[in-house]
Amino acid sequence: MTQRAVCSRCESPLEAGDLRCAICGRAAEEHARSVARASIQVLRCESCGAAVSYDAKVGAPNCSFCDSVMRLEELVDPVEQTEGYAPFRVTRDEARAALAAWLKRQGFFRPADLAQRARLESIKAIYWVAWVCDARAYVTWTADSNEGAWRSAWAPHSGAVQLAFDDVLVSASRGLREEEVRALAPYVDLKAVAAEPSVLSDGTPVALETFDVQRSGARRRIVSAIHRSAAHVVERDHVPGTRFREVHTSALLESLETRRLALPAWVFAYRYEDRLYRAVVSGGDARGITGKLPFSLARLFLVIGAVILAGLAALTLLPILLRFFLG
């Protein structure tokens, strides 16, 4: 691996073409600049040799004689590209079996015949895209908590903590919903990331989702995801007491490193009583499974009915019991 340029203030890696660090704003060092392009110092048109001047319409120096435009080093904002692929480890049949088992496992409020009557409409192998990030963060926080409260229910607290984030997964997928990503994230295996997508032995074609955001937009989403994770960790581990509100965090992110990965999944569409539902099985580990399920209204009414009956029974029995015990 080649030596990568790193921001001298926050130690986040800089990418080719970065004029400034995306995290802390410091200007890139000279050696990082040279990666991009040699700048043009001669104010003479390269095509015809006439003097040139900058043209606001073109946004670049423009030769008025031959109309050629000079190229300048500017902030590059390319669309993100996938860097690696996590391998498919779950075969099509294993994914199907996992789905069938999952449908059987569902709770009381699901229709009893779900596993038998759910009809599979389609099975697709896809690679969905996500950013996987490592970062350090010095997080300062304040919050109200019930700990140490006087007359009010709340007392103010503050603190600072150094946190390290490893493999924070930020979805870049438009195909998968946020809750599906949350369910699959724990089963993503990042150890065996390959340079090429897996080829399935049974010949199932794998659909590749591509990143469709630009670098600047990607960084905004990644940074806000890390800030959210930091706030979550602070709420969970650092605010004292059992209840809290008004949790504020301010963080210094450092060494933010991002990998742009494609992650495997099996996407199922199944039909139950004329409605389509979707389930997703992680392609790396079949335990990762999530999806929409039909809800059994019949069973819900059954429970409500039972509760009402029990209530009525208690009301009628109560006087009898009272008489029995007291009388």
């Binding site: 200007a27 110092q41 003097a51 043209d55 606001a56 109200d144 009010s152 600072a160 301010s250």
Partner: protein, 316 residues
């Protein structure tokens, strides 16, 4: 081989500009003062540092002129008539030097945090029959508690002027600039355009930027405090890893001056977004005339009233 550059310095507003020789102007494009001194760009440009970044013009001359005309058309009644008739073709595109500042801020703060609670209190009042009665009611009260702690954040993209010709407050009127379109400085971009030299030193820019950064941090800490209400008592920031880069920003300037002693008028157009701002001098003649007219109208109404009373009185 480079297009010949001339340097001019305005004795009035202190701006120093390098201009292409063919665009040499006898008045300062910044304040329209005629007291400009020209000298060939040479020894002075050798010792100054080159800018780090530059934002290119997006708004071209025709668009800038159109916007200035529209702005003057909308300007107030009391503006001098000469302004409304002013020819706008003297609008000048200038690269304005600014300092772009950033740092890491570690702050210690002390604050008072108000936590609300409700309590019942008894009070005495008189009822509808005039008797004194004791009642209770629920009231919300606030208990104030001390909170001290630390706040850490990056301060990014603070822009302060590097030009004596244009103060920071005036720069702020045409902000913001979208810094994502920034480029590495390249002399090719300023070719054919006037560019002002940084006349405020890096240290002066640093001081200015620091105070702006502290204001920013203060706002951030105020937002950061918990509680139903809060007041920041004191904070102390340590700014480290500070950077000050020199950036050229694109602005169109329309400067005009009416009479040798008149205050100069300046309209600025953000060369990236097209935002127009300016201070319009008020014409003394128009203000006096306007006030006199107003007085006259009041007097007329008063006389009319007297007359009407007299007429009614004569009937009674």
């Amino acid at each position: 081989m480079e297009t010949e550059q001339l340097e001019i310095r305005c004795d009035d507003c202190g701006a120093t500009l390098t201009m292409p020789a063919h665009r040499f102007a006898a008045v300062c494009p910044f304040c329209a003062s005629p007291s400009v001194v020209d000298r060939p760009a040479g020894e002075s440009s050798a010792r100054r540092e080159p800018p780090d970044f530059i934002l290119g013009f997006v708004i071209d001359r025709a668009e800038a002129e159109r916007r200035v005309k529209a702005w003057i058309g909308r300007s107030r009644f009391f503006a001098p008539s000469a302004l409304k008739q002013a020819k706008v073709h003297s609008v000048e595109g200038i690269y304005l030097p600014v300092w772009l500042y950033g740092c890491i801020a570690h702050s210690q703060y002390e604050a008072r945090i108000g936590e609300d609670y409700t309590t019942t209190e008894s009070y005495t009042t008189t009822d509808s029959k005039g008797r004194t009665v004791h009642r209770t009611r629920t009231v919300t009260k606030t208990e104030w508690r001390e909170l001290s702690g630390t706040h850490a954040s990056y301060v990014l993209d603070v822009l302060v002027t590097a030009s004596k010709g244009l103060d920071n407050a005036e720069l702020e009127t045409i902000e913001p600039f979208d810094l994502r379109a920034m480029r590495r400085y390249d002399p090719a971009i300023v070719s054919g355009w006037a560019a002002e030299e940084a006349t405020l030193s890096r240290d002066e820019g640093h001081e200015l930027a620091r105070s702006e950064a502290l204001e920013f941090i203060e706002d951030r800490i105020e937002d950061f405090l918990p509680g139903d209400s809060s007041s920041l008592q004191h904070f102390d920031s340590r700014l480290s890893s500070e950077d000050t880069d020199l950036v050229l920003l694109p602005i169109w300037v329309f400067a005009a001056r009416y009479g040798p002693n008149a205050e100069s008028l300046r309209i600025l157009i953000n060369g990236q977004t097209g935002e127009v701002q300016g201070k319009v001098p008020r014409s003394i003649v128009k203000i006096v005339a306007g006030s006199l007219l107003g007085l006259l109208a009041v007097a007329l109404i008063f006389l009319l009233g007297l007359f009407a009373l007299g007429v009614i009185g004569s009937f009674l």
